[in-house]
Symmetry: D2
Subunit: 407 residues, 4 copies
């Protein structure tokens, strides 16, 4: 038994922490100011570009790329277990993953291109994505149906006159508002009558400026627009793209979705561990800096119980994530759906409640933008819905466990 990360991971971690200390934490105020002052909230921020340059030069770039695609990155690929401690650190500042070209949804989209893209598609889209020159969106969720059940999806992808024609509506399309986003991977139904319900879907590539594709509006969650990356509602009105724009092949959209979403869920969990850990540290610092009724907060038994509980919880959540990563590394994503579902349905809720507790320790100020907790709280809350509501994953996991012990 060995709970330590690999040497490679530990070395990168050390460099990443130095980078965060030198460049990221000191820029948090500046980030807030640039965003507040921006005319267009979905424009790229100068600060991010500066930091991206520095991170690229520091070799802290595309750390999410797994060994199976090691050819794309100088570091040769990091396993999930190796990446987890790094993503955790990035999770300590909600906007920092982009600095390292490790932000959702681009990481997942790049993996899609690596796994399923044609040479031409990789050349056109994967290369600039890996370089951080453009951004991308993944359009799956729909407003009218429970789209966590992929068979409910209604957007139509019809073959007409040697083209794909898309009609339908999507929402919660992360990145769609961002001015740098140039390509959308769109899931829809190309063969809705196929008796095999998992062959009805296809995924096609839609460049951002394709006629007929329009942004209806940005969406907020708990009051946050998550600018500049953001989430949007989209309308596809007779959007036409070449037949070559299909990914992997007609009728294979479900397969791609399955392959894409597991890792994405784990990336969210890794980052949330960092968000929780930082909140815990802030709560400790608050506890020694404030007094009520003649007694430092840190000496109140209730505060110590809160801190103790938060420490234990974040430790357990971290271990669950690491064990899931280890299982993926050894046995692959498909064999690890039980642990992925366990992480996905446990970590966001646990971290949400932990942050809530840490915010409460900060008085009214804890809810403001003066600390990163309120935004991280929103991130955790949102993850309970992202990539499917927890309940859907609990349904699948519950069924699997019942079969395991009572099959």
């Amino acid at each position: 038994m060995d709970f330590t990360a690999s040497k490679k991971s530990r070395d990168l971690l050390e460099r990443l922490q130095v980078f965060m200390d030198q460049h990221v934490y000191p820029s948090e105020h500046c980030h807030a100011e640039q965003l507040r002052a921006a005319e267009n909230r979905f424009a790229a921020l100068p600060l991010i570009d500066e930091l991206k340059d520095k991170a690229r030069k520091a070799g802290l770039w595309n750390l999410f790329v797994p060994p199976s695609h090691g050819e794309y990155v100088p570091h040769g690929g990091l396993t999930y277990s190796e990446y987890a401690p790094l993503a955790e650190v990035m999770g300590r500042v909600t906007w920092s993953p982009e600095v390292f070209n490790c932000n959702a949804p681009d990481t997942g989209n790049m993996e899609v291109f690596m796994n399923y893209g044609s040479k031409a598609q990789q050349e056109q889209w994967l290369k600039p994505l890996l370089a951080g020159a453009i951004r991308s969106s993944y359009a799956m969720t729909e407003p009218q149906v429970a789209s966590s059940d992929a068979t409910n999806i209604e957007l139509r992808i019809d073959k007409q006159d040697g083209e794909w024609v898309l009609n339908g509506r999507k929402w919660f399309i992360t990145g769609a508002m961002y001015e740098r986003t140039k390509i959308f991977i769109v899931m829809g139904k190309s063969d809705p009558d196929n008796p095999d319900r998992h062959r009805q879907q296809s995924q096609v590539l839609v460049p951002w400026d394709t006629p007929g594709l329009s942004i209806v509006r940005p969406l907020t969650t708990l009051g946050y627009d998550d600018a500049p990356i953001g989430h949007a509602e989209l309308l596809f009105n007779n959007v036409r793209v070449p037949l070559d724009n299909v990914l992997l092949g007609e009728g294979r959209g479900f397969e791609i979705a399955q392959g894409r979403l597991g890792p994405g869920r784990m990336h969210h969990c890794m980052r949330l561990i960092g968000a929780g850990q930082r909140s815990l540290e802030l709560a400790c610092q608050r506890a020694v800096s404030r007094s009520t009724f003649g007694r430092a907060l840190s000496k109140h038994q209730s505060v110590r119980e809160d801190i103790s509980k938060s420490f234990s919880e974040i430790e357990m959540a971290r271990l669950l994530v690491l064990k899931t990563c280890d299982k993926i590394d050894r046995e692959g994503v498909q064999a690890s759906v039980d642990m992925i579902a366990a992480s996905k349905t446990t970590v966001p809720l646990l971290v949400q409640n932990l942050i809530d507790r840490c915010m409460q320790l900060h008085g009214a100020g804890g809810l403001t933008g003066d600390y990163f907790m309120a935004e991280a709280f929103n991130y955790a809350r949102w993850c309970r819905q992202a990539d499917g509501p927890d309940q859907v994953h609990q349904m699948a996991l519950g069924k699997q466990i019942i079969d395991r012990y009572a099959g």
Copy 2:
């Protein structure tokens, strides 16, 4: 034993519900649009003015005024028990209390003027407040200290050259951003060395345009700025007002604060019951309108358990509020601090969790502005800090109960 409200209350409730159905619910989209389109987010919205006119004409105005001040209102005053069901209904739309001139912090401030104001102060400020012509703020909380302990307060109110001179900083000053807010009631220390720690404080009136008073910035909670009323950080830099501007008398600030805050907490609780109740109703409507995996949500056992639990919880919370109101009506605020603390520390947390559950049933959309739940969630969360963090009230209540049973 009788759980029904008085005839007077029931009659007003019926009229209020009709008003909500006819004028308020249909305007929710318009309110969001006017606010989104506003150049100044803290300007008065035309919609609100229209609705205020209608509410005034409908006799649904200043319903918060208690019988002890019945002379100020045509309805002659409503007890807490009579007002609670009305405030609950107003809580179903977060911005609606202003329509009925029943919004925080103006209600509490008007009560302060009624209870402690001089004739001249009442003439100048109370009258236009009751008419809804101006708005007001109550400046108590400070950023540098745990100000739920009033003896920590640092803002100085010094007597110099026949004037009060104020120096210090306040934050979370609700209404301070609002363009209609004309008067600030400011709590500070006029006699910091007084051995009686509850005689060190005074409250003085500061008109909004007094030189030296400046708004540092608006504050957000969980991403919401609560515009147009909002919350602000304020700087008092040698702010000078006449000696007459003291309320009640020098050294009586603590006494005023005690009298003001109990009722305010109950008003929040009443409205939160309405917020929770509406969320429950939305969840029921959602449950019948969506299906996952071939089964209406309403038929999932887990959904029924959630609905059942939410119904029971909101019923209990409502009863706790009503019994507290009844105690205040019969025995006064001072004798009811136990029940007020029980309500204050129970209802916001319960409603926060209930709304969280109802949002989750709505999928990702539940977190957006398309439903009122996300904003109501923020309101509930905020109330766990407003008027002092729950923990401070639990400390006092716990002590009181221990004394009661083990004294």
Copy 3:
């Protein structure tokens, strides 16, 4: 609005409290000793007989009887609202309800005889039950099926040769072990093929010494056998009783069950409020009597938060029970199934958790028989299963609420 009980209820409450102070609390140790020393744990205890005599003389007898059956009792009947505060006080000592002839399952069985019994049945069984001379059991639950769904019941009641013949198995039959129990009301299927699934059942009376009826074993819950009343598993092997022994009529067993169980659930809830309230009081007393690390428990912020939370919870639970009682009093049991289900699924769980918290404050001793909390904890836990698991009631309540708001 009026939260006070009727004069009649308050007068009885005062007398009941005096009785508890004088006779019951001082006998708790004696009760434990008599039970420990008993050769047969299910024999009647001398202490109980002495106290029953005193209670009867004090007019604190059969307080559960409602006004609709006022002719059976000198007090003329008490409404649910009037009885609730009295049952609460009885709940402060788990074995005390029998002292007042108000214990389950006899109260429910007496109501069955009042509502559905023939004159002859009332003469033979109801009279001695009201006198406290004999005890009774209600045999519904079965070990092999989920018997909260009455259509699952398997015990057969067949008409043969002018007699009812019973065959089957029951368990959790409260009182069946008790040496004074002389009559069993048995639910079974007399017409299992009836297309109306609610006409398949009948209830028949089986005297304890009928051949073929045998006690398989006593049952424990969390280690408690609840002696001397206890719970048992029963075997019916060709048990024969006269046709007259049917209650109300053939095929009306379901109807009787519906009428019987609602009130029983409320009686449990009322008593649990008392169990919770007493635990809270014990916790307060503990808090002032122990110190850790140089500080009285009562001064630890975490203890104050626990006490504060417990006070608020018990208050809410009590109000929920009272409002349910008030609804039953005004509108009847059938119209109140929503509130009965809300009480049944909320109060036992809430009280279980509250007692758990109060036990924890007592250190290891809190789990022993030195305090009444451990036994009360078991009672609360058991009530989450008694009369059907909470989940079954949440299913029904959830459905009803969804229909109400989205019908």
Copy 4:
């Protein structure tokens, strides 16, 4: 990173599981029967002796012994990480650890003798303990004081006439009722005025038949007497033992207590993981074997959510325990007090709630002795008090974490 146990541990695990399947699970009913039929509930059960013989022969004996004391056991010692999966399996049957000579408090006491005993003490007591021939008790907790704070301890150990004379009272002395228990390790104050509060205590050995030592009574927790090992209240009335009976030396009692209790807490946690895991498996089996309202429990969404949640929780708890063990193995007990406290304050509560959920799925039967869950629930509940209430450990852990992040 590597989550797999060592080859040695895995081999033993496989043999242990075979042993459990062949000998222990099939004997559960027999154990209950022998205990029920026993004239003296605290006599040794024949079944246990048979199984002990088999386990000894199978080499599944004294598995708790760590490598530092490998000379005592043929297996050469197992690290905490190696032992944890084995203790987990033993935790699946609450009485089974004794079969493998791995039960509390004997394991901890044997470690005390190994670490602190003189050659003579080891010869007299450790040898027969390792052989399973006798049993032992550890007498620390006192009824009158919060003895989790060792400086509160009141039992006196005075040097008189060349002997130690003990006077005082202890309770919750596990094993004291058991007929095989021959030696008590007793903590008391030999130097109550020593200014160093951690040098006031000594620990001395008291044979069970020493005059003046009497058993006041057995104690129960939630109705369980945990026979035959049990817990007792003891009276020391001028109990005299030779000066040689002191362990390690006068004034070193606190030091011994510190060394003993950390490992003991981890053993409890390991076993509780097994208790939780088995409850989860039972719940899965129940879910497929029962139907309500025409639908197998396993298909109810709420059941799947419960199973999913339980799986995730037990996985997290197991990982927390394993990581703690790994830290102890690498850095020692003293450096691991943070993780030991995290385990001690997390695992029992988590497992208690998990078992509660699994019992609820079993209907009323889940609370009886027909399943092992009720007894395991009691074990988990008890562990929240054993070796000090959770709150005391949270106080220490909270302080340590605050110092770590805000020191």
